[in-house]
C-alpha cells in the first residue's frame, strides 16, 4: 500500500456515492428504524492530489445527516440540484431528500415518488441525470422501468417491456440513451426519444442460470461518445465480460476472476471502472476483498485474469473475528486520484486505500 486509512462507521453501508465538492455519502441498510444517511467530508489527504502521510486532519467529518425509516439500498444525487433520491425495501418507491448544508446539517425528507407495486417487487435501482431536467430513472423489474421528473414527480417516460426479469442495474449513457442490466445478465438499450420503443438485446455468455449479474459503466467522461465506452458485467460466479455497445453481438473481452466458491450470493456484487486510469476496473462482493484488474491485457478467451492488486483489509479488521467475516458491500474509485479507492464492508468498516504501482508502469 501507499496509503491506507481505515474508519469505522456506526452502521455498515452498502453504498458510497460522490457528491458535489468531493463529498461522500453513505447510508445504513439495517432492517430496523433509524437508518442514517450521512454526507461526509473526506479528510484533506484525500482531497489534495499529493498524499501527505502525517497530515493532522485525517478524519472524515459528518457534514450533514438524515434519518430514514427504511433501509437505504441505493442512493443517487440529482446533479445540479440540492436533492438526492434513495430507494430500498420493502417496495420500489423512491424517497426524495433535500440537502442544504449551509443552513443546517439535517438532510430532510421532501417527498416520495410512488410506484405501482405488483407482487414480489423488490427495491428499485436508480440512476439520475440533469441533462434535460432533473430526472430519475428507476425500476425494480424490466417491465417497470420509468423516468420521473424529480421535483414535479411526473412521469416522463416508460419503457416498453419485454419481460419481467429483475433488474440489477441501470444507467443513463447520455441524456437520451438508457442502459439496463437484468440479473440474468441480459443487457438492453432504450432511447427516451422514442417512448414505448422496443428494447434491444445484447449477447450474454452462456451460463447456468442462478448466476446473477451486475453492471459497470464508465462515469460520463466528457467529450467521449458514451457508447464507445465498454460496458463491464460481473457475474456471481466471477465471470467478467466487456462489451462494446456498438458491436453487441460479440464480447470485447471475457475473463474469469478468482473468487471463492460457492459464492456468497449476489447481494453485494459490485464492479466499477476507474475514472482516472485507462482500462482499470475493480470488483467486490464475494468476500472481504476488492480486486483491481487491468483489462488491457484481456482477450476473449475467458481464462483466469490476474488481479493487479487485492485489498484484503476488510477481512482482517473487525473485533477479533467474532461472527461472520466481513463482506465487502460496495466500493468506488476516487474521481481524481488515480489509484485510490474507497470500500465498505458489512462490519461497518470504511477503508480508503491506494496501492503502490510496481516500477515500470504508470
Amino acid at each position: 500500500y501507499r496509503d491506507l486509512h481505515t474508519f469505522e462507521l456506526q452502521a455498515p453501508t452498502r453504498l458510497i456515492e460522490w457528491a458535489r465538492g468531493n463529498r461522500v455519502c453513505v447510508a445504513g441498510y439495517g432492517q430496523s428504524d433509524g437508518n442514517e444517511i450521512l454526507q461526509l467530508i473526506p479528510p484533506p489527504t484525500l482531497l489534495t492530489k499529493e498524499s501527505q502521510g502525517l497530515c493532522p486532519e485525517r478524519d472524515f467529518k459528518v457534514e450533514c445527516g438524515g434519518f430514514s425509516e427504511r433501509p437505504v439500498y441505493s442512493l443517487k444525487y440529482v446533479p445540479d440540484t440540492s436533492l438526492l433520491v434513495t430507494s430500498g425495501p420493502p417496495d420500489s418507491s423512491l424517497q426524495v431528500w433535500q440537502v442544504s448544508a449551509e443552513d443546517s446539517d439535517v438532510i430532510k425528507s421532501v417527498s416520495t415518488i410512488a410506484t405501482e407495486n405488483g407482487t414480489g417487487q423488490s427495491w428499485a435501482k436508480i440512476a439520475t441525470t440533469s441533462a434535460r431536467a432533473p430526472w430519475v430513472l428507476h425500476g425494480s423489474r424490466l417491465d417497470r422501468v420509468q423516468i420521473t421528473e424529480v421535483e414535479s414527480r411526473k412521469n416522463v417516460y416508460t419503457a416498453a417491456s419485454r419481460g419481467s426479469e429483475e433488474l440489477s442495474g441501470l444507467a443513463f449513457l447520455d441524456c437520451n440513451t438508457l442502459l439496463l442490466c437484468c440479473a440474468t445478465g441480459r443487457l438492453c438499450l432504450a432511447d427516451t426519444r422514442q417512448p414505448q420503443s422496443l428494447l434491444e438485446d445484447m449477447a450474454v455468455p452462456s451460463a447456468p442460470c442462478s448466476e446473477q449479474w451486475c453492471l459497470g459503466t464508465r462515469h460520463g467522461a466528457q467529450g467521449l461518445e458514451p457508447s464507445s465506452q465498454p460496458v463491464a458485467r460481473l457475474s456471481s460466479r466471477g465471470l467478467l465480460t466487456l462489451t462494446d455497445l456498438r458491436k453487441t453481438s460479440e464480447f470485447l473481452a471475457l475473463a474469469k476472476a478468482r473468487v471463492p466458491s460457492p459464492g456468497s450470493g449476489a447481494e453485494f456484487l459490485c464492479i466499477s471502472w476507474a475514472p482516472a486510469l485507462e482500462g482499470y476496473l475493480a470488483i467486490s462482493g464475494f468476500d472481504g476483498t476488492v480486486h483491481v484488474y487491468d483489462t488491457q491485457s484481456w482477450d476473449s478467451s475467458g481464462r483466469e485474469a490476474e488481479p493487479i492488486f487485492v485489498h484484503k483489509g476488510h477481512a482482517f479488521g473487525g473485533a477479533g473475528g467474532s461472527g461472520d467475516p466481513a463482506l465487502v458491500t460496495v466500493h468506488t474509485w476516487h474521481l481524481q486520484k488515480p489509484r485510490t479507492l474507497l470500500s465498505a464492508a458489512s462490519d461497518g468498516s470504511l477503508h480508503v486505500w491506494n496501492w503502490v504501482q510496481p516500477c515500470g508502469k504508470c
Partner: protein, 600 residues
C-alpha cells in the same frame, strides 16, 4: 432547575477552552478553568466579572472542579484564584494535582520569560493556588458541604483525567471534561455507571468526526520514522513531560523489537525519571495491560530506549530522540533541534498543539528561517511533520457514554448550534432525552422534575388503604393527608396527628346565610311554616323542630328572625359547618325559592 452557563469564546479553534458555570439547586459550581491558548492578552482568561458583580467569588461559588491537566482546562486557575480572588475548595484527582503545577509553571515560563508578558500569574501564585486544592480518588463521594457532593469517574484521555458527578439532594449533573471511549496503549477507556443524572454535559468538538483508525496513524508514524532512520537521518520528537510520550515509546519499542532495528532511541533523562515516578505513583490510573505487566517488569523501562546524554546529539548515524519541552520553546529539545535542523535527512515530528510564539508553532506554520538568540538565523532543512494522537470522543463515543449514564437531559458544549442539528436529533431520537446546544456565552436553563421523597405514617397508610377500592398496582390511588415539612424532612400524616404534633387546635368554619322571605306573621309562625315545608320535601333527611323555634336539617340550623326595618319580611338564618357545604347550599337555594303559599 439547573442553570448552566458556558463560557467558551471563539469556537472553531483546535484547542478549546473550557469554563462552565452550573447552578444546581441553589449551589454554584465552576467546571474547569481553562485558558484560551490563541490570545496573548486578556482575552485568554475568562471574564469573571460576570460572576463577581454580585460580590466575592468565594461567597458565590461553592467549589471549583478541574477535570484534567491540559492547559485549556486548568490554565486560568492561578489567575482565577490568586489574581481575581477565590479561596474556596478546588477539586481534582491526585494525578492532576501532581502534574498541573508543572505544566502551569512551564507555561508561565514561556509566556513571561520568553515572550515578556506582564499581566500573568507568578510562580508563587501557582503554589498558593495549589494549596487550595483538595485531591479526590476515583469513585469516592466527597461532601463539599451538607448538601453538595461530588464523585470522580475515570475518563481516559490523559493520566488523571476524570468525569465528575455533582449531586445536590436528588438532582445531579455529570460533567465529562475531555474523555475517550476507546482504550489506548497506556490508558483505559472512560467509564461511568448508570447514575441517571438529570443532566450530562459533554464535549462535542469531535462529535462530527469519523476517526481514522489508530492503527493507520501509528502505521504512518512508524513508516516516517523508519524511512528517516533507514536513510541515516535523525528523528526528533519533542514531547511534554507526560502523556503521549509514553504511548509513543511503547509503540516504538514494539516496532523496533518486531523489525529488529538497531538504531538507538533516546529519551531525555529528566523525562524518564519523572515519568516513571508518576506512572508508578498512579499505576491504578493506567490500563489493565500495563498494570499486569508492571508486576513482571516496569513497562516504562525499555530495552531499546536509553537515557539521553546531550553529547549523543553529535553522534553520527541515525537515531530517534524524545526530548522536552514539547513546543520546542526552550531547553533540550530546542538545543537538539538547532543542531539537526540544517540536514534534510533529519526529521522532527511535532506530537501536539504548539502555542503561538514557540519555535514549534513557527515551523508548523511553514516558516523555514528562524531567528534565534543573538540574531542568528537558523535555516530549517529538516523535514517537519505533525501528527496528533490526542484521544477524544467522537459521535459514537458520545452515544456510548449517554447509553452508560442514562441522563435525562444532554448538553453539548463547543459546537456550532446549526451544524449540530443532526447530532441533536440523533440523540433525541435514540434516547428520548432533550438535547441542548448552547452558543458560547449563553445561559441554558434546564427544568428538572426532582423526586421529593416523603414518608407516610403507617397509621395514615392503613386508614387510607382501607377506604375505597383495593390497592391496584396499575392504578394510582388518591390519598388524603397533611404534609409536614420540618428540618428538611417531609412526612405525610393524618390531620389529627398533624394537629397534635404541632400543638394546634382544629378550626371550625361555620357559614351563615340570610334568606329573605315575605311573611308578615310572627317569627315563631314563620319558623313552623319552614319546618313543615322542609319536612315535606326532605323526606330522606332528619328535619327537627326544636323547642326554641329553630329548625335543624341534619346538622344544619335554621332560625327565623324578624327583619330590623321591614315588618313584612322575615330573615331566615341558615347556618352550617364547612363539612356540610353541599347540603347547606342546597337548603339555601331551596329556601330562596320561597315558601308555598298555603300553609297551615
Amino acid at each position: 432547575i439547573f442553570r448552566v452557563f458556558c463560557w467558551c469564546p471563539g469556537a472553531g479553534q483546535d484547542v478549546g477552552r473550557s469554563c462552565i458555570l452550573v447552578s444546581i439547586a441553589g449551589k454554584n459550581v465552576m467546571l474547569d478553568c481553562g485558558m484560551h491558548m490563541g490570545y496573548n492578552d486578556d482575552r485568554r482568561f475568562p471574564d469573571f466579572s460576570y460572576i463577581t458583580q454580585n460580590g466575592r467569588l468565594t461567597d458565590f461559588l461553592d467549589c471549583v472542579i478541574i477535570s484534567h491537566f491540559h492547559l485549556d482546562h486548568c490554565g486560568a486557575l492561578p489567575y482565577f484564584s490568586e489574581m481575581v480572588g477565590y479561596d474556596g475548595p478546588i477539586y481534582m484527582t491526585h494525578p492532576t494535582k501532581a502534574i498541573c503545577p508543572i505544566l502551569l509553571e512551564d507555561y508561565r515560563k514561556i509566556t513571561v520569560d520568553k515572550k515578556g508578558e506582564t499581566n500573568f500569574f507568578t510562580s508563587q501564585m501557582i503554589k498558593d493556588c495549589m494549596k487550595k486544592v483538595v485531591a479526590v480518588h476515583l469513585h469516592q463521594t466527597v461532601q463539599v458541604d451538607e448538601e453538595l457532593e461530588i464523585k470522580a469517574y475515570y475518563a481516559g484521555h490523559v493520566l488523571g483525567a476524570a468525569m465528575f458527578q455533582i449531586k445536590v439532594g436528588c438532582e445531579s449533573v455529570v460533567y465529562t471534561g475531555d474523555y475517550n471511549m476507546t482504550p489506548d496503549r497506556h490508558l483505559g477507556a472512560a467509564w461511568i455507571d448508570k447514575c441517571r443524572p438529570d443532566l450530562l454535559i459533554s464535549e462535542s468538538t469531535y462529535a462530527t468526526t469519523i476517526r481514522d483508525s489508530k492503527r493507520c496513524r501509528e502505521r504512518d508514524f512508524l513508516k516516517k520514522v523508519h524511512e528517516t532512520v533507514e536513510r541515516g537521518g535523525k528523528v526528533l520528537i519533542p514531547v511534554f513531560a507526560l502523556g503521549r510520550a509514553q504511548e509513543l515509546c511503547i509503540l516504538l519499542e514494539t516496532f523496533w523489537e518486531r523489525m529488529n532495528l538497531k538504531a538507538p532511541i533516546y529519551f531525555s533523562t529528566g523525562l524518564t525519571e519523572k515519568a516513571n515516578h508518576y506512572y508508578k505513583l498512579f499505576i491504578t490510573w493506567t490500563n489493565q495491560k500495563i498494570r499486569k505487566t508492571f508486576v513482571q517488569r516496569n513497562m516504562f523501562e525499555f530495552k531499546h530506549i536509553k537515557a539521553f546524554d546531550r553529547a549523543f546529539a553529535d553522534n553520527p548515524g541515525p537515531m530517534v530522540v524524545f526530548a522536552t519541552p514539547g513546543m520546542l520553546h526552550a531547553g533540550q529539545s530546542l538545543q537538539i533541534f538547532r543542531k539537526w535542523a540544517g540536514n534534510e535527512k533529519n526529521m522532527v515530528i511535532m506530537p501536539g498543539y504548539c502555542v503561538q510564539g514557540t519555535v514549534g508553532h513557527k515551523i508548523l506554520s511553514g516558516q523555514r528561517k528562524l531567528e534565534m538568540e543573538g540574531r542568528q538565523i537558523l535555516e530549517v532543512k529538516m523535514q517537519v511533520e505533525y501528527m496528533s494522537f490526542s484521544a477524544h470522543a467522537d459521535a459514537k463515543g458520545i452515544m456510548q457514554l449517554i447509553r452508560q449514564a442514562e441522563p435525562r437531559n444532554v448538553l453539548l458544549v463547543h459546537g456550532e448550534a446549526k451544524k449540530m442539528e443532526f447530532l441533536k436529533q440523533k440523540i433525541e431520537q435514540e434516547f428520548h432525552v432533550s438535547c441542548f446546544m448552547p452558543a458560547n456565552g449563553e445561559t441554558t436553563t434546564i427544568l428538572t422534575n426532582p423526586c421529593i421523597p416523603v414518608d407516610i405514617s403507617l397509621g395514615l397508610l392503613k386508614r387510607e388503604t382501607a377506604i375505597g377500592p383495593l390497592p391496584d398496582a396499575k392504578k394510582p390511588k388518591l390519598m388524603h393527608g397533611t404534609l409536614l415539612m420540618k428540618d428538611n424532612s417531609f412526612r405525610l400524616v393524618s390531620p389529627e396527628q398533624a394537629l397534635k404534633e404541632l400543638g394546634l387546635a382544629e378550626h371550625q368554619l361555620r357559614f351563615t346565610c340570610r334568606v329573605h322571605i315575605q311573611d308578615p306573621r310572627k317569627e315563631h309562625e314563620t319558623g313552623l311554616r319552614v319546618y313543615n315545608h322542609l319536612k315535606g320535601i326532605l323526606k330522606d333527611y332528619s328535619v327537627q323542630h326544636l323547642p326554641d323555634g329553630s329548625i335543624t336539617v341534619e346538622s344544619i340550623l335554621i332560625q327565623a328572625t324578624a327583619h330590623s326595618e321591614d315588618q313584612g319580611t322575615k330573615v331566615l338564618l341558615v347556618s352550617w359547618t364547612y363539612q356540610d357545604e353541599e347540603l347547606g347550599s342546597y337548603l339555601t337555594s331551596l329556601l330562596k325559592k320561597g315558601l308555598p303559599q298555603s300553609t297551615p
